[in-house]
């Protein structure tokens, strides 16, 4: 028993030592990012590392609502990139996030597999689909999709929702089901459609269009607020804005 305790203490000391010695030299920036940012994150980081070559950046991707929960429960994030303002605002109210800045947009549209079972070309075609998958109302993409459908009237909404075979907990899982040929269409982000060669993106008419806005916020508990701030500023730089556009995002509003 005694030796076990000392082993734990020993391990703890070693871990501590590592953490202390590494922090000042090369800090690790932990970014919690909405999963729809995964397609562009590497490019954004690459740009940033040209400015700060010693910096290590680690991404934790999940739905914004999951990340919000994790941060609420004390996850060691430095910067939070959310696919909507609500989750960051909630964290700010709780004193867990500060300096909220919007840096990108993402248009919703109809996404279909290139090898289509049913040809879907416009919003009205959705009622003819055999199978639709939508995001759950809890994920931002699902909430925006609901708004798109609702804008076309209650009857249309009912007809479309009758075609839904699954409410997916993440935008990307919905797309995977399209790629597998298991569903005919979903409403999703332009950037997501662009990142997969087997999917097509169809623009929505302006009166039905929904656009997600991405927000960044610095997590109050961060040990490296200056680094987090610099990355936050980097997101709105002209170079990053170009990178975002190249990946199908809209620039900051």
């Amino acid at each position: 028993m005694k030796s076990f305790v000392s082993a734990v203490v020993c391990a703890g000391t070693i871990l501590n030592a590592c953490a202390c010695s590494s922090q000042p030299t090369d800090p690790i920036l932990a970014i919690y990012a909405a999963s729809s940012l995964a397609s562009v994150a590497d490019a954004l980081t690459e740009d940033f590392r040209q400015l700060e070559p010693n910096l290590k950046v680690e991404f934790n991707y999940a739905g914004s609502q999951t990340l919000w929960r994790q941060i609420e429960h004390g996850a060691p994030a430095d910067l939070f990139l959310s696919a909507d303002p609500e989750h960051l605002t909630a964290l700010k109210r709780q004193g867990l996030a500060r300096e909220l800045v919007t840096f990108a947009q993402n248009d919703l549209g109809i996404i279909t597999p290139k090898r289509a079972h049913k040809v879907i070309q416009k919003l009205d075609d959705l009622v003819d689909a055999d199978r639709l998958v939508f995001g759950t109302p809890e994920v931002p993409v699902g909430r925006h999709a609901r708004a798109v459908i609702a804008s076309q009237g209650a009857t249309f909404q009912k007809m479309v929702f009758d075609r839904v075979v699954s409410w997916e907990p993440s935008a990307r899982l919905a797309l995977s089901k399209l790629s597998l040929g298991e569903a005919d269409a979903t409403l999703g982000y332009r950037s997501d459609a662009l990142s997969r060669i087997d999917l097509d993106f169809i623009e929505l008419p302006t009166e039905a269009l929904q656009t997600a806005t991405y927000w960044s916020g610095i997590i109050t508990g961060t040990q490296i607020p200056n680094v987090a701030k610099r990355f936050q500023n980097h997101l709105t730089s002209s170079k990053s804005q170009q990178t975002l556009r190249r990946h199908g995002f809209g620039g900051k509003p």
């Binding site: 199978r131 809890e138 075979v165 699954s166 409410w167 997916e168 907990p169 597998l180 040929g181």
Partner: protein, 260 residues
């Protein structure tokens, strides 16, 4: 049947067991203490709750039925021989335990989905309640099959040989001798498989999807509630835990009665 064993220094062994007991039980304690009575009631009132509970019960019991009917012959065959073929099949039967359930769900889609190996020829069962059952069966059947094979192996084969030499047909020898002797082991395996089916999440989400009333089982309903209302989710989880505990307790009790 139970042989009383004389443990050496039982208190010391309990002491050594304590870390594991705590490791397993502390999260349960947190789950129970974390949810208040009001939360529980709010959770029970959630519109999707009843549909999810009903679906979970019917699909998991249906899965258990299929697992027993289709798994028992395989377990019996596995228990009969020790050739390479038997060992290879036993190894393959183990695979679903090791693979992440989500991967099993993907594999199911590629088999029975609309463009799958078999599904492409019609009758796609993905995204239906049958899909839920299918996902549960492939993920939890190994637990029953392995336990049942072990139980069958423990049956003294001489007894069967004697029964056969006295004129009993193979099926009669199985039903009258092998089955009663291995029943406690079979029940334990069935309980484990049923519990695993009830808790199935990953394969179900991938293969059957998440549609309230049709494919949204309790674990999926809990996961979705986690994203809006933590307390409701915890209440739902508590109900699932109690349900599972009650069922396993009942099975243990029956099995104990059978043994004595």
């Amino acid at each position: 049947m139970t042989t009383s064993r004389v443990p050496s220094k039982p208190l010391r062994w309990l002491l050594f067991s304590l870390p594991m007991i705590l490791l397993l039980m502390l999260p349960m304690v947190a789950l129970i203490t974390g949810a208040s009575w009001a939360d529980l009631q709010a959770g029970l009132r959630r519109p999707t709750f009843h549909a999810a509970l009903q679906l979970s019960l019917t699909t998991s019991l249906g899965s258990l039925f299929l697992i027993i009917v289709l798994g028992s012959p395989l377990a019996w065959w596995l228990a009969q021989g020790r050739q390479k073929g038997h060992r290879l099949v036993e190894l393959l039967v183990n695979l679903p335990i090791v693979l992440p359930p989500a991967v099993m769900g993907l594999a199911l889609l590629q088999t029975y989905g609309r463009q799958g190996l078999i599904g492409a020829f019609g009758l796609p069962i993905s995204f239906s309640s049958w899909g839920v059952v299918m996902a549960q069966v492939v993920v939890s059947a190994p637990f029953y099959i392995l336990a049942a094979a072990a139980a069958f192996r423990s049956v003294d084969m001489d007894l069967i040989v004697v029964a056969r030499s006295l004129g009993a047909s193979p099926s009669k020898a199985f039903l009258k001798i092998a089955l009663p002797l291995s029943l406690p082991g079979l029940i334990a395996g069935a309980a484990l498989a049923w519990a695993r089916a009830l808790g199935e999440f990953g394969a179900t989400l991938l293969f059957a999807g998440n549609l309230p009333g049709r494919t949204q089982t309790m674990p999926l309903a809990i996961y979705q509630a986690l994203e809006t209302d933590l307390r409701t989710a915890m209440a739902l989880a508590l109900v699932l835990t109690l349900l599972c505990f009650g069922m396993l307790f009942l099975l243990r009790w029956t099995s104990g009665r059978l043994q004595s």
